[in-house]
């Protein structure tokens, strides 16, 4: 376990050093400007909250705009922005066409901010000092979440993890109780790899979980796993590592046992054709070096804004996130966006209008 964390940290440092210099477009938003709103409110996904809260804390200090982000879950983010009770929403489950049609303020844009890994994590006291993390396959994960495997020393689990042979305890399955993009990524993965799951449960922000306890937010699931012995849960990677919970290995589609390094996460996006609206799922990648349970997380904004001060603040914020903000991702165990995703995101950002004219200020819009 400690070895994994050390490796991850090293990779992160190296990557951060390389990437920090590599994103053109950074350094253009450095201080506040007149005419922009000093407060913005956003609500939504807990998946990126570790990164967003860091971003917004830095942004408030550097730029002077206070972005209040409340992590109420992707479902909450989608509803809040659809109802226009916040300035922007956040979700890691892409909105469906029906949801988009129901948004009160017109057309909503999905602007990706980062990529992250959803990882299985667990709490088994007997293995707390073990250096070897548990290994799961698509079969074992779906069986556990379907309720077909109920004990830790089930032969299927022991086959990959001999150290489980002596753990004769019931598995406490933990899932999300709220509408969650993380759940969307997780269930999309399970649907992709397990026919039984696809037929009986399916994928989405909220599903009919066959078994388990519900936790609110990624924090709730991590909290539950941490407090409950013999529990298993799925969380965005940062939540496991920040709380010294073990991160299990998962066998990807090529048959390799993977750790969710930033590289493995980024690989999941390679070869994926990005649609222009950037609503895309990336689970169970065919790339042999990819972590199989990966996804984008988006910020949702209306294409047509009606408050010039807010529109200015919002577009500058999103520019900063897409460029300067990427440098923070790896240290916090997210993966920076691939270059083509950033390019398409900027196209979407440029399409945001307020009262007929482009909202993104010219010095940013004209950057090549």
């Amino acid at each position: 376990m400690k070895k994994i964390v050390a490796v991850l940290a090293l990779v992160a440092l190296v990557a951060a050093a390389t990437i920090a210099q590599a994103i053109p477009g950074s350094g253009l938003v450095t201080k506040g400007v007149s005419g922009e709103a000093k407060n913005l409110t956003g609500a939504g996904a807990t998946f990126p909250a570790v990164l967003y809260t860091k971003w917004f804390s830095e942004y408030a200090a550097k730029i002077g705009v206070q972005v209040n982000y409340q992590a109420i879950g992707s479902g909450g983010g989608i509803k809040s922005i659809s109802d226009m009770t916040v300035d922007f929403g956040a979700s890691d489950g892409p909105m469906t066409d029906d949801q988009l049609a129901a948004a009160k303020g017109g057309h909503l844009l999905h602007i990706p901010m980062t990529m992250g890994a959803v990882v299985p994590t667990y709490n088994i006291p007997e293995l707390s000092r073990s250096k070897q993390v548990l290994k799961f396959t698509a079969d074992t994960l779906s069986a556990i979440y379907l309720g077909d495997i109920i004990k830790w020393n089930d032969p299927k689990l022991v086959a990959d993890n001999p150290q489980l042979a002596k753990v004769d305890k019931y598995i406490v399955v933990v899932h999300r109780s709220d509408g969650s993009g993380t759940s969307n990524i997780w269930t999309s993965y399970l649907s992709a790899v397990s026919e039984k799951w696809a037929k009986t449960v399916g994928a989405g922000n909220s599903v009919q979980w066959p078994v388990g306890l519900g936790g609110k937010g990624n924090e709730g699931v991590a909290g539950n796993v941490k407090q409950t012995q013999y529990a298993i849960g799925y969380v965005e990677e940062a939540y496991a590592v920040q709380n010294t919970l073990p991160v299990a290995q998962v066998k990807n589609s090529a048959g390799t046992w993977m750790d969710p390094t930033a590289k493995a996460v980024s690989k999941a996006a390679e070869g994926v054709t990005l649609p222009d609206d950037l609503r895309v799922k990336m689970v169970n990648s065919s790339n042999p070096e990819a972590w199989p349970i990966t996804g984008f997380t988006w910020i949702l904004v209306y294409q047509q804004q009606n408050d010039p001060a807010k529109a200015l603040a919002l577009t500058r914020l999103l520019w900063w996130n897409l460029h300067d903000g990427q440098a923070y991702a790896e240290k916090l165990l997210y993966a920076p966006l691939p270059v083509d995703a950033i390019a398409k995101a900027v196209v979407l950002l440029k399409s945001v209008t307020v009262n007929g004219s482009q909202a993104l200020p010219p010095e940013l819009a004209s950057f090549k």
């Binding site: 407060n39 409110t41 609500a43 909250a49 570790v50 809260t53 860091k54 917004f56 804390s57 408030a60 206070q66 209040n68 982000y69 409340q70 109420i72 809040s80 109802d83 226009m84 009770t85 916040v86 936790g215 609110k216 937010g217 924090e219 709730g220 991590a222 909290g223 796993v225 941490k226 940062a238 939540y239 920040q242 709380n243 919970l245 916090l332």
Partner: protein, 287 residues
Amino acid sequence: MPRVNEQGRFLRRRAAGLASEIIAALLAALSVAVLFLIVGHIIVNGLGSLNADFFTKIPKPYGESGGGIAQAIMGTVIMLIVAAAIAIPFGVGTAIYIVEFGRGRFADTVRFAVELLAELPSIVVGVFVWALVVRNLTGYSGIAGSLALAVIMIPIIARSVEEILRLVPDSLREGALALGSPKWKVVIFVVIPTVLPGILTGIMLALARAAGETAPLLLTALGNSFFNYDLRKPMAAMPLQIYTYAVSPYDDWHNKAWASTLVLIAIVGILSGAVKFATRRWKHESH
């Protein structure tokens, strides 16, 4: 023969009496123990995390330790003040109407409405204020949170003041009226001053209750990680912060949650305890 039976019966009766006394005492002791257990845990777990930063700084990003909940304390104070500013006039005014002016169906309806308000589950109050204010007027905001708290406070104040006003002997009113005062002057300058302490305790009770409310604020104030004095924007509150922190996995947040709980029950406890103590004396005096 009869004497033995009588003795046996007598002893059995005494035994039954003794047993029931012991059981009742045990049950009471258990109830007291539960209170001490809960408050004890809160004090023990919360005390260690109280420090200067806790009261003066805002939260740090997820996973970083340090910082505090200053913005939540501020938010709670602001929303309570605004809620009280709304609830006190309506609560007191309604009580005055019911006791001093009300007659017939309208007064009965008013009293019924106050009862209904008092019985509302607080989450439903949150739903109502969301549908009325958040959805159409302000988005998540401090004023919506204050409104929700006001709705919860109004019936508490109204019932409390009503009870107190009824305790005022009619002779006081009659005397003042006989001297030629218009009714409204009698109410404001004679009746109310006599019961002012009681009214204040009613207000404190309502504040104590509102300070601890979480559910309605989840749907109205939302929360804020920065200091915010603008009621049209989301606002932080202590109970919201406790909830968020408690269900999280971060140990630092757990400590802060305990500490916040301690501060919260200290505030609530002082308000409620003072109320109950004063009311005990009050009831005692007016008999």
